[in-house]
């Protein structure tokens, strides 16, 4: 009986060991894209596709064929975490990560040789919103000010630090004494509207929704006005994969850039793309979409003309990462951006235009 019990005790552990061994056994057969003659790329998105993020999917699905791609919407998989999306690529179940630029720089610094090769979305409509008499960035550092933000390294945190840097502040989000960590911008909007916090970083349409309830609401600063060099998200892939699949990556990026150009020029196409590709429960109203489109065009959310990943902007973003304590140093531009692929994509777009 005791022997039986002992064996029973051993079974789960042995099973776990076998599962771990199986997981570590590589995944060669799972990869169906990449390599010679490949026509599709499997993209791991690190967050749901918001309305402003649609040009990439729109471009690939609409113009992919022009660049020899054979991709469908099933080639895009949405995750809720950059780490999980990255693991998916490293395990061979996806080829490319579309996500936060600073997170990609952080990955690179941690020894994962990922390179950016294509933009995803450069800017965003985030604003620093204040209420209850909080109307300047200096007020954020008052011990009595309750400021809602996401975790260090999250999108809101990076955006706030970029705005503080652009506004000449020496302090960062980490120095705000009254900080409350609220991961979702929806929850931050709720807290701002109900008076639970005095300031936060949210989308501007969320600000206008909350402003109806908040006391003395004010936009203290907006990302696209204050930080023209900001690059929010980009496409990145392991350097070895990019080396093997340079032309495929350039074709993919060319389709993305075409999508950005098309949606910048055509509001109706943008509305159609949001309907088809955005992961939203409810379609935003026309006023919200028009405001987003206007900001996107005026402030270069979709850098379809030049690719957006300039040395100046990457260096700026790395400096924000260093100042925030996320990165240890500013990396060399060519170590983190596959410039040749981006330039080739721009050439391909010019050939088509």
């Amino acid at each position: 009986m005791a022997r039986q019990t002992a064996f029973r005790a051993a079974v789960p552990a042995v099973a776990l060991v076998l599962v771990a061994a199986a997981c570590g056994g590589g995944d060669d057969d799972a990869s169906t894209s990449g390599g010679d003659g490949a026509t599709s790329i499997r993209v791991a998105n690190t967050s749901p596709t918001q309305p402003g993020f649609v040009p990439a999917k729109f471009g690939v699905i609409t113009y992919g064929e022009n660049f020899g791609l054979d991709m469908t919407i099933d080639d895009f998989t949405t995750f809720d975490s950059h780490a999980v999306a990255t693991q998916t690529v490293l395990s061979g179940r996806a080829d490319v990560v579309a996500g936060s630029l600073v997170s990609n720089l952080l990955l690179n610094e941690q020894g994962q040789d990922f390179k950016l090769f294509c933009p995803y979305i450069a800017q965003d409509d985030f604003v620093i919103a204040g209420a209850n008499g909080i109307d300047s960035v200096e007020d954020l550092f008052d011990p009595n000010t309750r400021v809602a933000l996401d975790s260090p390294g999250g999108a809101g945190d990076v955006i706030l630090n970029a705005m503080l840097q652009a506004l000449g502040q020496d302090q960062t989000a980490a120095d705000i004494p009254g900080i409350q960590i609220l991961e979702s911008s929806g929850l931050r909007t709720t807290a701002f509207a109900s008076g639970d916090v005095d300031a936060t970083v949210i989308h501007d349409y969320q600000y206008y929704e909350a402003a109806e309830q908040a006391t003395d609401p004010v936009i203290i600063a907006s990302l696209f006005e204050e930080v023209p060099d900001f690059v929010k998200e980009g496409h990145a892939a392991p350097a070895a994969w990019l080396e093997e699949n340079a032309e495929l990556a350039a074709n993919y990026c060319a389709a993305v850039l075409m999508g950005m150009r098309e949606l910048s020029a055509d509001y109706d196409a943008f509305v159609g793309a949001v309907e088809e590709f955005a992961d939203v429960e409810e379609m935003p109203d026309d006023e919200t979409l028009r405001a987003l489109h206007t900001s996107a065009v005026d402030y270069g959310f979709w850098p379809g003309e030049d690719g957006g990943l300039s040395e100046e902007s990457i260096t700026f973003m790395a400096e924000v990462g260093v100042k925030s304590g996320l990165l240890e140093e500013v990396p060399a531009y060519e170590d983190v951006v596959a410039v040749d692929i981006l330039e080739r994509a721009l050439e391909l777009v010019e050939e088509q235009s």
Binding site: R3, A13, T86, D150, S151, G153, S194
Partner: protein, 263 residues
């Protein structure tokens, strides 16, 4: 004349506890070795080697971060659990003995039991705030229905023969409940309270992740967003260990409280 009795048992008993412990320890070592091996593979990004996780755990406690986080999570959990236990046992008793409560309250309880508590978070945020109060209410919601349903079931399951015996001794209604119904329903009540402990831990950590991030939830979110995988895994292991210890304690309390059944 040579003895026919066999010599005393050898030093190794194949059915004894030594084999069991050897296998247990070997299994744990094999598991940790597999974890270390897999974590060291270049393509393993979200599984850090166990040695790095152990170092992160040590650093977390040495800096005081883990201790403070653990204390904060325990506070949320204990306060929420105690409130849930009082409400759950009280209302469960009422449902168990009252036809009125069975017809009015019980359907609502069943609806609440089947509703994922996470769905309530946006509403909770508005009415309870996102700090400690909101987190405690989330813990209460997470475990109250389990305690409540088990208590009412226990009361309803008391054998009628026991109640008849009580009545035959001219027990008052109060004595009938105190000396017959409640003791008979105790196994169910304690089962509900034990399961409630596990749910309270899950509720506390979920609240700390999804409302205003705090304590263990804040440790986990911060580590995730900065790709500090060893600290993330150390936080997860710490949460699991917390659950293990508290569930063991709950089982111990349950066994002690029900010891009269085996006495």
């Amino acid at each position: 004349m040579a003895s026919t009795t066999k010599p005393a048992a050898a030093t190794f008993d194949p059915t004894g506890p030594m084999l069991m412990w050897t296998l247990r320890i070997t299994s744990v070592i094999a598991l940790l070795a597999a974890w270390e091996w897999y974590g060291r593979k270049p393509e393993s990004f979200t599984i850090a080697p166990v040695s790095e996780v152990a170092t992160a755990m040590w650093d977390g406690f040495a800096s005081g971060d883990f201790g403070r986080a653990l204390a904060g999570t325990m506070l949320t959990m204990v306060v929420g659990y105690v409130i849930a236990a009082v409400i759950g046992v009280g209302v469960g008793l009422w449902i168990g003995v009252s036809r009125y409560a069975q017809n009015t309250i019980e359907p609502l309880v069943h609806a609440g039991y089947a509703t994922p508590v996470s769905l309530l978070i946006p509403i909770l945020g508005i009415y309870t705030g996102l700090e400690l109060r909101g987190r405690i209410i989330l813990v209460v919601l997470w475990c109250v229905f389990e305690i409540l349903v088990n208590t009412s079931t226990g009361i309803k399951e008391v054998p009628p023969a026991l109640i008849d015996v009580g009545k035959s001794f001219n027990a008052s209604k109060f004595d009938l409940y105190r000396k017959v119904v409640l003791p008979a329903a105790r196994p169910y009540i304690f089962l509900g309270l034990k399961i409630g402990v596990g749910r309270a831990i899950r509720g506390a950590v979920t609240a700390e992740l999804l409302l205003s991030a705090a304590n263990l939830g804040r440790v986990l979110l911060g580590a995730q967003s900065t790709f500090d995988i060893p600290t993330l895994l150390a936080g997860i292991v710490l949460t699991m260990l917390l659950g293990l210890v508290l569930m063991r304690l709950a089982s111990l309390v349950e066994r002690r409280s029900l010891a009269y059944r085996t006495a």
